[in-house]
Structure formats: C-alpha cells, structure tokens
Symmetry: C2
Subunit: 165 residues, 2 copies
C-alpha cells in the first residue's frame, strides 16, 4: 500500500493479469459458468507472478477474484436476473456493488507458461484479475446449503435460461 493510500484510508490494488473469454458483452454471459460448461477461456498472468502457479495444476478447480471493470455504478439494492423484486446487494451477485469485486469458481483445464486455461466461465473478456486461489473441496464445498431467493428458481432440478445478471 502506498503512503497516500494509508493516509486516505484507501486500499490500493493492481491487476495481476487479465482474463480472456468468449463473452464480449454482459448480455452474452450465462447466469453462472457451470451451466454452460463447453465455453473455454484463459487467464494471462504478468510475468513476475508466473511462478505463483506452481502446483495449481494438481487442483481440479480454482477461485478467481477479479474487478468488474465495466460497472460504472455502485448500488446498495439491486434487481437480480429472474426477479422483479429488489434484494440487498449482498444477497445478489450483481457487478454493481461496493468495490466491484467479482468471484467465480472455474474448472482448470491446463497451465502453460503464463496461461491457465479453464472452463465453466461466466466472466467478461479482458477483465482485470486480482487473485487466484485453489478451490479446496474440504473447505469450500458445503452441505446443507440454503440459497435464499434462488431456491424457487432452481427447484425440481430446473436450470433457468440465460438472462442478464
């Protein structure tokens, strides 16, 4: 953090790389990547971070944390896909949120040089990448989950069609 960042109470971050995906506009993106498994994408890391990928290829899934660079507003409540009602911004996955932090779980396909290829993508092309973490089944996959307002849309094995997030 720079000296000025500290003084102003800000937290200063930087892109560690970029995400490349088949989705050029928000309207093309599926609700979540897991529902359109065939789409392929990759991330390109800046050179200095490439050694950080060591041993990630032994994991099946990764968590990507990124910056919703196309969002130009911050909402406290929002209307999600599939709904006519507003919910609190912390009960939906909208990009128009405080700090504009995005989060996706993706399936690792391969790692070559500065690139990690993956599927199960729901991220816009040229999104700035902030972090990669290994997805750990023992911590990150939970049982007995109740998913609030989303339950009614997914009940009886239903998978909603693509819509605007």
């Amino acid at each position: 953090m720079t000296e000025m960042g500290k003084i102003m109470g800000q937290i200063i971050m930087h892109s560690i790389g970029i995400i490349r995906s088949p989705y050029k506009e928000s309207k093309d993106i599926p609700i979540q990547g897991t529902f359109k498994r065939e789409a392929e994408a990759w991330l390109e890391l800046k050179d200095k971070y490439v050694p950080g990928l060591k041993d990630l290829d032994k994991f099946s899934h990764a968590i990507l944390i990124y910056y919703f660079h196309k969002s130009e507003r911050e909402e406290i409540e929002g209307m999600p896909f599939l709904e006519q009602n507003k919910h609190g911004i912390f009960a939906i996955r909208s990009p128009h949120r405080p700090n504009h932090i995005g989060f996706s779980i993706v399936k690792i396909k391969s790692i070559k040089g500065n690139r990690m290829y993956f599927t199960e993508v729901d991220i816009l092309d040229r999104t700035p990448l902030l972090d990669i973490k290994p997805y750990v089944g023992y911590f990150d996959s939970r049982d007995n989950v109740i998913s609030g307002w989303l339950e009614k849309h997914f009940k009886d094995g239903n998978i909603p069609n693509k819509t605007v997030i």
Copy 2:
C-alpha cells in the same frame, strides 16, 4: 475509481465495515473455520451499506471477501501449514499474496441492524471487510473436486490439527 487511480493503473478500494472475531493473533486461527464450528464472530457494516443486507438472512452461508491487513509482504511462492515444501502462492491460501485478498465461507447465524453474526470463522479480529456475497449451493458447491497437495493431509477422514496458515 479516482482520476489518479486510473492514471496509475491502480484499483482503489475501501473498507465497507469490519470483522470482529475471537482470534486476536494469526497463531490462534484454525486452519479453516469449518473445523472449529463453535467460535462466533460478527461483522459491522458502515451505516450506508446496511440496506445491502436485505434478504441475506434467507441464506445459510455467506462468502466474505476481506483485506489481510496484517500482512506486510507479498510472496510468489510460500510454505503453507502442514508442509515443508514451497508451493506457488496461487496454490495455497496464505495471506502474503499479491493484493492480500482474503476469502472465507461462513455460516450465517443472524442479522440485526448493521451486524451479521456468523460461525465457522477463520478471520483475524478487526479485519477490514471488502464485500459480502451470498453462497449459492447451485454454483459454489462442486462435486468431483481434487484438492492438489491438500489431499494427502485429509485422506481417510483425517482433519489436521491447528497450525500456522
């Protein structure tokens, strides 16, 4: 983002609140909160964000994204708990990582005013909070997960003892 942030290629974030937990020092924290379920914690949001919690109480779990404020170094490879070998920083969950972004899944207990009470905590007291997202079983809980170097430590139902993360 401020004008200066754009010019310098920086991404500027701010804390939306603070996390309060029983863990005052890193050495007190369990490997992951899910292995010490009884510990209780809460987060306190800044007033302007409180309406953002609407309907989050209908979810069983939340994703917290926060800032590892005690880390003063950035590593590209690191030695995780339980290991004598170095792994790439993106294959471990160490706080000493580019951008110092932390990620935890917690179990929601209740929401009252500007506070969300939760359990399954692995976060240091007074950690700055950056975002809250609903944990959605349909997207976030995955099957057929392979967890790389962690598999050997958890095999046959083993749960490792608390160690330094």
